[in-house]
Symmetry: C2
Subunit: 333 residues, 2 copies
Amino acid sequence: MKKLINDPADVVKEALQGVALAHAGRVRVMTDPNVVVRADAPVAGKVGLVSGGGSGHEPMHGGFVGPGMLDAACPGEVFTSPTPDQMLVATKAVDGGAGVVHIVKNYTGDILNFEMAADLAREEGIAIESVVIDDDVAVQDSLYTAGRRGVGTTVLAEKICGAAAEQRRSLAEVADLCRKVNANGRSMGMALTSCTVPAAGKPTFELGEMEMEIGIGIHGEPGRERKVVAPVHEVVEMLATPIVDDLPFAAGDRVLAFVNGMGGTPLIELYIVYYELHKFLSGRGIEISRNLIGPYITSLEMQGCSITLLKLDDDLTALWDAPVNTPGLRWGA
Amino acid sequence: MKKLINDPADVVKEALQGVALAHAGRVRVMTDPNVVVRADAPVAGKVGLVSGGGSGHEPMHGGFVGPGMLDAACPGEVFTSPTPDQMLVATKAVDGGAGVVHIVKNYTGDILNFEMAADLAREEGIAIESVVIDDDVAVQDSLYTAGRRGVGTTVLAEKICGAAAEQRRSLAEVADLCRKVNANGRSMGMALTSCTVPAAGKPTFELGEMEMEIGIGIHGEPGRERKVVAPVHEVVEMLATPIVDDLPFAAGDRVLAFVNGMGGTPLIELYIVYYELHKFLSGRGIEISRNLIGPYITSLEMQGCSITLLKLDDDLTALWDAPVNTPGLRWGA
């Protein structure tokens, strides 16, 4: 294992100290338990937005804390759910009196722990809404999931709901909006290589010299099938067809197209993916009116990509365009 | 070779088409020859900023075209210098009557071709200033370079000079500023893995299972030495010591610390690098007052990082903070 780390046991702790030092004006990092919080939290009268999950997917979620996006993120150990006490501390830190939305990716540990944290927070008088993201069309049930996994749509939900919370929409409105984003978002990913969890010291799975895995999960969970590597136009078709057929997306739809890098794939390849995706969608009469291209929900150094499509309306578009000021996603601010 | 590409011969062309489709409001992409230009170029009365170099370093340079940064970028084939005609077309496209600065990384091909383009542009009546960036302290002379290589400081020079040009500083002022940034910036990089140029189909160099290369160039050019992989605090010391000693940076200096990912290294590791760099500099009384962390000048899917330090004064700081709106770097706009 070759990584830019010290002791594998200290990876999350030291990375969080890096985040704290680098972005001191924007976030503060609490330890014991680990929580990344907006520097100005709680914002009075604003719905608080909390997400979290295992580390190793950076910039998600800690890099999405800041005005216009999350109020707090709970980072677990690498590929390991955060604990209920992290989520409770985060929830209390961001409650500005208008309640808190938990955005939860559909993994069994995250679901259980966020449920427990929500119960504890409610006992302390904080109104909580929980929204589960389960947008991955690759497989039904998986290694850590009952139902579909939560992947790329999470990033879009955090941005869009963050903007809505800034507008002082109510707890119920922000939660309903988050459910709407989830209902209108679909994703699928693929891997060219595995990744290595530092504490494990060896690759999560093995792929042959000329193999790729279609439908991979963000923790290296098995996907739909392994195939011989193919030209990217075929790869895009393998990912985009099940996405489009699932919702379904139809001619005349406007979408946000999110081409995500898994962490080890260079940007030049992601732009080729985008080029092919644009051709694919144009052929079906689907218009890309917004896009996001880069590594935003990653799997350590895995090479590969995922595609997320989100059906847009005017409200979602305006919320997407609203200013955001986080370490990982920033514009207009 | 496993990559998200079609034909290796089409990588640059198709990636540029992806850029054109994704960022149509911000840039336009000219083909034959390939140039990425600000959508609103030329801006009358503003000094034009042109850079360029081989592809494979994305988002540099095409991703840095837009208000507050470059007016145009000339992408060569992967790790191959662009041609004089690309540079001439770019220069003519962005000349708003106030002259054009060429920001040139110190590689023999780039130097020769930008010199030729400058001569041709002057013949057409355009005032040109050329500034060479040679900030890499790793080695004197190299595979493609006489003198020092140009690396991370290029990104900072493009941002800072872009802001100065927006303020309508003169050609001489912007060029002098660029020379000042180069004089105050120092970099060094390292690699854990090689990268594979698509057209070559095999890794540029070989590193052993437990080897790293200290002082690597952004095309995989040999560095100072190969060593057994070490904890990141030692790696940071190996990179930061020659950087600090070279200028030298001294106690009381304020710096911009740029921790750059080589393309295949996950963000979580870059934040640990930043954490260690902060400790290293604190120990010498050097204050990090600005930072940039992420993959900005890359070497395809190479795993590794580079560190760039830029000594700041109030003018450089204000120019760094000024709004920028490019695909690869964006804030305040």
